[in-house]
Structure formats: structure tokens, C-alpha cells
Amino acid sequence: MTDMTTASPIAVPTARPRIRWNRVGDHAILIAGALFMLLPVLLTLTTSTFDNITIHRGGLQFAFGPDGFENYQKAMFEKGGFTKTVDGMRMMMNSLILGLGFAVGKIVISMMAAYAIVYFRFRFGTIAFWIIFTTLLLPLEVRILPSYEVVQNLGLLNTYTGLIVPLIASATGTFYFRQFFKSVPEELLEAARIDGAGPVNFFINILVPLSQTMIAAIFIIMFVYGWNQYLWPTLMTTDESMFTLVRGIKQIMQVWIGANIPDYGVAMALAIIAMTPPVLIVILFQSWFVKGLVESDK
């Protein structure tokens, strides 16, 4: 904190006659903001390395402790829940399947639909456009109960299909790709047609390679969105072996109720495990992610 804001003016007092208090204030605000975002998670991380008795007696811990390995091993490999069938590994696998399945499915399906809408002239084109874009209006949360009933009628409860496919039923991806395809220069299609490229050829050899950055950005956004789903998996999965990590958080809370000393350490370890993959992806691919988010405008 100090070396960023105050050290440099003090180190060269003659070169810079006055301390720029404005800048110091700016940095102070930014540092306070960064700490506000960081501290809660940091405390969770450090406290997750202590045993329950210590946490119960001493509260949240500000330094790393000796029991990290044990807590994380328990969170990852000990079978928990009511039926003792699910461990952290299994939930992580389910989260991965949900995140990847959702992101890939959504990208493939919405690219195809956007391609049809932008590049083809056909009857019902406008109607198809409106049918698809009406879905932007209503999030899954407002139609959870009937959606649940539909999935139940189809016998898809506790299946990956039932988990992933209903989440894909929204046009956000199609909307992104439509915007992007519209910005692709028209000359490309004309040139490709002169060279004799058909629609499949044009799509695979020209449009997909052109969209690479866009695909990467949408992939990150959708993966994080899928991984972080809570309400839908909570309703859909009663079989514990289908739980995702985020769904598993609720399970841990329910075990807390009535416990003398709740399993703080393992709960925090699970929270850290559940947030690590999406956080890493967002930080590592920051520029793509920000670009995708800002340019697609939702």
C-alpha cells in the first residue's frame, strides 16, 4: 500500500516539488475497493486451512494454518451427503460437464441459427427470428415450475440432458453471433461465391475461423454461467451423484443446521474449490472475456 502511493514522491523530493494528493487519493480509493472485493475471499481461503475447533473458538483466521491439506482432502475425496455417494471429485466432474456441455452446446446451436438468420433468404425467416428472440425476454427463473414439470414429463430429471438443454433455451448466444455476423464484410460472401463456395464450405472455412475470438469470448462467459448455475440444478437433481459443486454448497449448509460445531473448514474448502476454475479462467483470459462481454452488450 505504502510503496505505491507515497514512496515515490518521498524518494525523489527535489525532482517533484509537491506530493500529488489527488493521485494518492485515487490510489487509496482503488486499494480500498480492491480490498473490499478481495478480503472476504482471502479470509475464507486462510480460514479453510484450520480445524473446526480452532475456527469455532477463534473466529475467522487471518493467516494460513496447519490443517489445509486435511480439509481439502476431505472436501475432495470424502463421500458426504445423506446417501454417502458423492464426493468433491464427482461434483467437480458434474460441474465440468455442465459448464462445458452448456458452453459448447450453446455455441454450436446458436452459431447455426445465427448463420441461417443472417446469411439466408427464406420464407418464415422473420418469424423464426422473432420466435428465437422472444426467449431473450424471459429468464428461466420466472418459469421454473412449469419447466420443471416439462422436464419431469420427459423423464429427464437427474440426467445431464435435463440439466443442460433447458438452460440452452435462450437466445443470448444467437444474439451475440447475429451481431457479429452482421459486422462481417459482405464482400467476403460475394468473393466466396465467385470462387464457387457453397453454404457449408463458406461457414466452415471462412466464417468459423473469422469468429475465433468471438467464440473464445462467448465460451468463457457461457462456461462461467453454466458452472455457476444454482437454481436449476437444485431442482433438477435429487440424486446426489448428479450434484454440481455449486449445488453441493446447499447440501453443506443443510448439514450445518443442528450441528454442534459446524464443519466450517470443509465448507470453506468446498467454497474455494467451487470458485477456483471459473475465477482462474476469467483472470487468465481477461482480455477476451471483457471484450466479449462489452461488445456483445449483454
Binding site: 482503488l30 475464507t44 473466529g59 415450475l145 449448509m253
Partner: protein
């Protein structure tokens, strides 16, 4: 639409089949079911249902519980949207000015975007825990006994705090992008005309950011209404009891716990109309923005 297009009779339909069939089964069918169900009184034991017209709507809207929930949702949404937008704007303005460490600040202020709402809720519950929570301890220092999950207002405070924390990053990203897209000549001219930082912000920067702000306002309203479900559900450990809840949470409670299918459907439809109005508003505004750019 493109001027140059393919004209194949069948191919575009093939491309559209996956999207359209998913939407038909998992969007239009449930939406239609919700509307249909909202006009019926369903027997909780599954012995058929009776048509009751607008009774479900009438019961929902006139129930004191519903009105309380609606009032709370309104206040909650306003608080979450206001604080997360204001804090994010302040941070974005500062992050746009500083040169040293700009990238680090950007990362530190946006990464929380990736944390799932229920995970944020779990962290919140730890911070507000009766025996180990530092925020509870802090309140204790001032002689206030904070009781998350027991005291209505304490729970409401925790809900707002966690929801704001979780929403700052996305607002920050959009505000910063908006600020950085203000052309350099405009900034320099503003600098010369108006050297005072605060009044420059309100006369130049703020109006130029208004489109971003409006877009974000809608996003934040939608967030507070729907995406906070996970935060709430974890914060009161799945047992809302006397704690404040939002409208979406009530749809879930009445439908899945209370088995009041008709009432829950009617509430769903009311929410649908609300979102519809918001989105139409947003679309019209976005179109206008595109025009004048």
C-alpha cells in the same frame, strides 16, 4: 440482414431445427403451461384441476404477504442497483485516471464476477456467523447484536451487502469500457475548459456515460430480481421463516414447498410481464442509442 445471401430452399431450416426445437420444448411449452396453470386451481393431490379465471391473480395481488414481498423486492432492488452502480462508477473513474498499476486494479476489481451467487452467500454467512463472523464482532463492538437469519433487518442488510459485492465487478467492467471509449480530444477539451475534477465529471463524463449507465440499470434490476436467488437461499440456509424474501423466491416457495401451483403460476406470469416491460424498454433504448451514435 445481408444484401448478398444464399438462397437454398431447405438448408436454413436444417440450421434452425436444433435451436427451434429446444426453444419449443423448453421455452414455449413451459411458458404456455405457466399461463394456462395460472387460470386453474390445481388439486394438490393430483385429482384434476378447476378453471377459476383470474382468482389466482386476485389472490396473489391482494394477499398481504405478497404485497409485503413486492414492497421489499422493490426496496432491495433499488438499494442493490444504486450501491453497486455508484461504487462501481467511482472505482471505474479512478481506475481510468491512474497510470501506475491500472491493469492490476482492473483484475482485482473484476475477478469476483466469476464467483457463483451461492458461493458468495456462503462467504456472507461466514462473515455474519453468530459465533465466528467478523462483521458480527464488529457490530458487537458498537453494542449491537447482529443476528443473521433471526432479525429481519439484519438479514436484509446481509442480503444487500453480499448482492452489491457480487455485482460491482460487472458494472465496473462496463463503466470502465464506457470511460475508455470517450475520445481523447473530448477529454482534453474538457480538461482545458473545466479543470475542476468534480464538476468536469458531472458536466462531461457523466452525460457521456449515461447510455452505459441506463443499460446497466436494467441489467442490475434483472440481477437483483432473479440472480440473487442463490445468495438468498444460502443466506437463510434454505429456511426463509420470517426473513425477507424477493418475488422470485416466493414463486419458488409457493410452487415447490407450498404446492400452490396456480398461485405460483400466476406470480410467474406477473413477473414475466414485468420482465417483458423492462426488456422492451431496454430494446427501444438500445435501438435509439445505435441510431445516434
Amino acid at each position: 440482414m445481408k444484401r448478398a445471401q444464399f438462397s437454398r430452399p431447405l438448408f436454413p431450416y436444417l440450421l434452425l431445427v436444433p435451436q427451434l426445437s429446444i426453444i419449443a420444448v423448453f421455452f414455449y411449452w413451459p411458458a404456455a403451461e405457466a399461463i394456462r396453470g395460472s387460470f386453474f386451481l390445481e388439486d394438490p393431490f393430483g385429482f384434476g384441476s378447476t378453471f377459476v379465471g383470474f382468482d389466482n391473480y386476485y389472490d396473489a395481488v391482494t394477499g398481504s404477504e405478497y404485497l409485503n414481498t413486492a414492497r421489499f423486492t422493490l426496496v432491495f432492488t433499488a438499494l442493490v442497483a444504486f450501491f453497486s452502480l455508484a461504487l462501481a462508477l467511482l472505482l471505474a473513474v479512478k481506475a481510468d485516471i491512474v497510470l501506475r498499476g491500472a491493469k492490476t486494479y482492473r483484475t482485482l476489481l473484476m475477478w469476483v464476477y466469476a464467483i457463483a451467487p451461492p458461493v458468495a452467500g456462503l462467504i456472507g454467512i461466514l462473515l455474519f456467523d453468530q459465533s465466528i463472523g467478523p462483521i458480527t464482532d464488529l457490530a458487537g463492538l458498537f453494542g449491537y447484536e447482529l443476528k443473521l437469519g433471526v432479525n429481519y433487518w439484519d438479514t436484509a442488510f446481509a442480503m444487500v451487502l453480499v448482492s452489491v459485492w457480487k455485482q460491482i465487478p460487472i458494472n465496473f467492467i462496463f463503466f470502465l469500457a464506457g470511460l475508455q471509449s470517450i475520445p481523447r480530444p473530448v477529454r482534453e477539451a474538457a480538461m482545458i475548459d473545466n479543470p475542476s475534477g468534480l464538476s468536469r465529471f458531472f458536466t462531461i463524463t457523466f452525460p457521456l456515460l449515461a447510455p452505459t449507465g441506463f443499460f446497466l440499470l436494467i441489467i442490475n434490476i434483472t440481477y437483483a430480481l432473479f440472480d440473487t436467488f442463490g445468495i438468498l437461499d444460502i443466506l437463510f440456509k434454505g429456511e426463509p421463516a420470517n426473513n425477507p424474501i424477493t418475488l422470485v423466491y416466493k414463486v419458488f416457495l409457493d410452487g415447490f414447498r407450498g404446492n400452490d401451483l396456480g398461485g405460483s403460476s400466476a406470480q410467474s406470469v406477473i413477473l414475466m410481464v414485468l420482465v417483458l416491460v423492462l426488456t422492451v424498454f431496454q430494446f427501444r433504448f438500445m435501438e435509439r442509442r445505435v441510431h445516434y451514435n
